[in-house]
Amino acid sequence: MRFLLDDEQAEFGRTLDRMLSAAGTPRVVRAWAAGDPGPGRALWSRLAEAGVFALAVPEAYDGLGPGGPLPVELAVAYVELGRHVVPGPVVETAAAAALMADLPAVAKEWLPRIASSEAVVSLRLDEAASPRDPYGSCGPYALDADAADAVFTVSGDELRLAPGHGPLRASADPARRLFRPSPGGELLASGPVVRESAARAAGWAAFLTAAQSLGVGLALLHRTVAYTKQRTQFGAPIGSFQAVKHRIADTLLALEFARPLLFGAALSMAPADIAAAKVAAGEAAYAAARTALQLHGAIGYTEELDLSLWLRKARPLRDAWGTPGACRATVLDASVPAP
């Protein structure tokens, strides 16, 4: 057993962290939210050069995975995407890649383009999994459909390319642009294999959203720590007040116990393990947002401060691709102790 990132994995995370720090993602996010995906697409290209999307694509289609996606490396990468609030359908693109692995015709057309980020794609699942949606991940919207090169939809056992989308529905996080895919469209694949592939894609989406949540939570925590060290009230840094310390300590605690669940899920990719990681990371990141807001005070409540980019993302991610209630049910479904 060596339940630790190896040097290469850890260095991969640090490299992305440095690259994204230098890229100044807040500016990119604000442009994305305003409907200008240009800087975001440029950032995606750099992420693709670093290999992020190729991790989700098998070698046979110009990706890096010997068989399928590489979960540990993807978790490392998506924690960094969350830490730097990289905009766009990052989860949907990787989940779509996972969806296509057993659909050769679709894979051949799309996976190489996904690996290179030539194609940014979104995804919407409807009754994705059989017998039921184990994460509560089915919903009406496709994220960032306007900026995507393709929107895939699964309904029942049919995979289609959406012919368009409805008007923008603004999310509480303006960088999450929601659209209803138009019904119908080109039929790309059908049959039980689509249903199975969609269930697998739902698992990947839940897993990567958990990673993104963890990154968002860690960024919120560290910004809050930095702020409470320098903000002075009543003649002392507010971080010296015990009520502030304890709330921050609880925030760290929840994030640090979500982290091993995430990497444990990466090693098994079992639905119950993914569900456990999703609940823990989603709730920990949302709690980190509440803490960050409270301890920043009024300044945290403004959209002007970059903090808002993380604050507004935490709650949607808590529910996206896996609600806490559905995930808890899935944890117990798998938990049948020996009699």
Partner: protein, 383 residues
Amino acid sequence: MDLEHTPEEDAFRKEARAWLAAHVPADPLPSLETEEGFAAHRQWEARLHADRWSVVSWPEEYGGRGVDLFKWLVFEEEYYAAGAPGRVSQNGINLLAPTLFDHGTPEQRARVLPPMASGDVVWAQAWSEPEAGSDLASLRSRAERTDGGWLLTGQKTWSSRAAFADRAFGIFRTDPDAPKAHQGLTYLMFDLRAPGVTVRPIGRLDGKPAFAELFLDRVFVPDEDVIGQPGQGWRIAMSTTGNERGLTLRSPGRFLAAADRLVRLWRDTADPSDTALRDRVADAVIGARAYHLFTCANASRFAAGESIGAESSLNKVFWSEYDIALHETALDLLGPEGEVSDGDWQEGYVFSLAGPVYAGTNEIQRDIIAERLLGLPKGRLAR
């Protein structure tokens, strides 16, 4: 001990209910944190005022009906149960007006209150400064003596409603040499359109300019707009935080109506056997009832001639945390639509998030509860 209403109160309720049924706009007004919505809400204030419903608890001479706290509670219940719009004038009505009743001159009341009641003048508060959030005694913005008045210089922030409001009130440092930080402060009112005032709207989390920064450069304030004596600003500001205002900042009617809306949402959308959500909805119902009854008890104490002080901190912590929990439950009930930002629940959620921060952070309120209500020793070492 009873919770009975008098026949007069019942009649008053009936009258309010009928008026609201006839006048509350069928469609919700646009958000009052937008320019369009602000104007629409100002019109609504005028409509309320025309039939003397805008400030029911004020004396008739200022546009009110002179009703007591119990009738005010009745009005608030009916108001929110009817789904009537939020109150764009609430800063003036809830914060400035009580101060004027306690510390203003008859001239000030006659001049300031009627246009406040009619919505002709909408007030913003101007308490905080960038370096003085919770620690209000460390205010730096100053008012310097000049002929016939004062000149304001400095910066205020988190000034709610200031993006579109007409006037503002706050406390300013008039004696920088006062021996203690909370001395030498003066309570005054000023015009947001006066020369020297720059208003910079600030977007809150959802981008709406719910507050603003105010840059003040030698803004003239005539003596007649000073409330109370110069140098007494701190005492005046504090004297109205622990009285009725602690009780009336958030009316129980508001939460009773919100809990009803939540139950309706639950019945419409939820699987009734989902006990995890059911329990949270039930807690919202229980909390609204608790807050209502807690307020009835305190109103009864006022009526019996008692006063409340630090108890208002219990009130503040309760409603602010209650409001967030209620809205979080609603968003969970909405499922994937919970993320979409253009609904009432979402606007209410963003609004609720500020509750534990403003009007004295909940951390400070808990210190007050522990020290003043229970006599725990003032903080020394954190460890």
